[in-house]
Amino acid sequence: MSGAEAQKVDVLERTPLYALNLELGGKMVPFAGYEMPVQFPAGIIKEHQHTREHAGLFDISHMGQILVTGVADVLAQLEKLMPGDFQELVPGEVRYSFLLNDEGGTCDDLMVTRPASPDEQNQAYIVVNASCKHGDLARLQRGLPGLKVEMLHDRALLALQGPKAAAALAHFCDAPNALKFMRAGKFNIAQMGECWISRSGYTGEDGFEISVPLATVEKFARLLLTVDGVMMIGLGARDSLRLEAGLSLYGHELTEDITPIEAGLTWAIGKRRRTAGGFVGARKIQAQLADGVQKKRVALRPEGRAVAREQTPILDTEGNTIGIVSSGTFGPSVNGPVALGFVPPAFAKVGTQVQLQIRGKNHPATIVSLPFVPHRYLRS
């Protein structure tokens, strides 16, 4: 048999949890320039299910944490670069947004937080994808002259996700009581220093993303893992969790050639921004909002158990190629294959029958609605 993906190991960076990941039996693979655990001995499926049923801890320290500091209207400044309605954010609110190119294509998707404290209203905190972080930093620095835009090299990032995440974190701070979905604050945790916590994540479950000082993150991760129900989870399960939740992954559903409108993320562009524009890529975004798109992201549920991976051709029932799969995996909670892909709008309606060409054979599939697994965010 064959198929093991041999990847050339250049000089890879390590997160501050590298030693802990190894100690826990993490199978390390190159990812976005880092050596990251794709799975632990439990395996992807058990890790996935554990997160849905209990709480999963994820090392996401490879992601970029960027702090923008400057003037009182920092949020208005950010609106020049991104289509989010940041000026509508209340203190301590988090918004999902994008950096776009001039053609409306997506350079990165990210989270922007307006700090909660009255003393920090001249700041914005942005969490970006690992693979894009250096480009994002340069783009923000270029686009925000006069503001200080810095990568925070002294902080690491954890995600704690799942129905028991709140109870687990409540052992250490008040964040589970204080925050609802897409809200953030700073919390002092004994011996860990100041942690920046948001109630957010990328699994579809209730949970938190926790920015921890570099010096204490390993200690904190070890402590979290002593809490009943908390288990370390690898990138493999992170991917199947986000895919079942219908969340886009940069490099797959979002690229420089895909606009947020095509990716089904129009909801993330504020109403005021759609009309008023005034952000990089606005002309294309507004044109697509007015005239429609040529391709649209859809969710696919293949019949049977064969997994339609990325790049699998999507065919109509007559056998004409109409699109391509952007992400596909086995969904442990769905107990079957799940996929996201792009097709012309005429084929995007829920219930449309299509075919997926897997290893030369056509397998029937249906366009379905997202998410594959209901979100369980704590909205109020």
């Binding site: 992807i44 064969a306 997994v307 991976r309």
Partner: protein, 124 residues
């Protein structure tokens, strides 16, 4: 009395007379991780040694399974269709893939016995 052989590609076959039961090794299932799908050949299909005969999909990726010797498929393990995790749980027994009627028993000479395979795996 059956004899067990292995390939460098981590298939095994257990030969009894001119029929061989084939599967993937315990080392292979462990390296692949959670197995979620197995695509089996059809009974009656003929393969030369080294031809792709099946596909095994783990949570992460698809891998090809080659015919460890030439012959005709006489039976496939239909249980794997609904319970592919059997390959993880019993790679060397209940998790077999297919049975081959060997066309040339001489091909077995190119394969490893269990001791040689164990040493090979250790060398990887």
């Amino acid at each position: 009395m059956s004899r067990l052989y292995f390939t460098k590609d981590h298939e095994w076959l257990r030969v009894d007379g001119d029929v061989a039961v084939c599967g993937i090794s315990d080392h292979a299932q462990h390296a692949l991780g959670d197995i979620v799908y197995v695509e089996l050949p059809e009974a009656g299909a003929k393969y030369a040694q080294g031809d792709q005969a099946a596909v095994v999909e783990s949570a992460k990726a698809a891998s090809e399974v080659y015919a460890p010797a030439g012959g005709e498929i006489v039976e496939v393990n239909g249980t794997l269709v609904n319970d592919p995790s059997l390959v993880n749980n019993a790679a060397m027994t209940d998790g077999w893939f297919f049975k081959l009627k060997l066309s040339d028993a001489g091909e077995l000479g190119s394969l490893m016995d269990e001791a040689a395979y164990d040493a090979y795996v250790k060398s990887l």
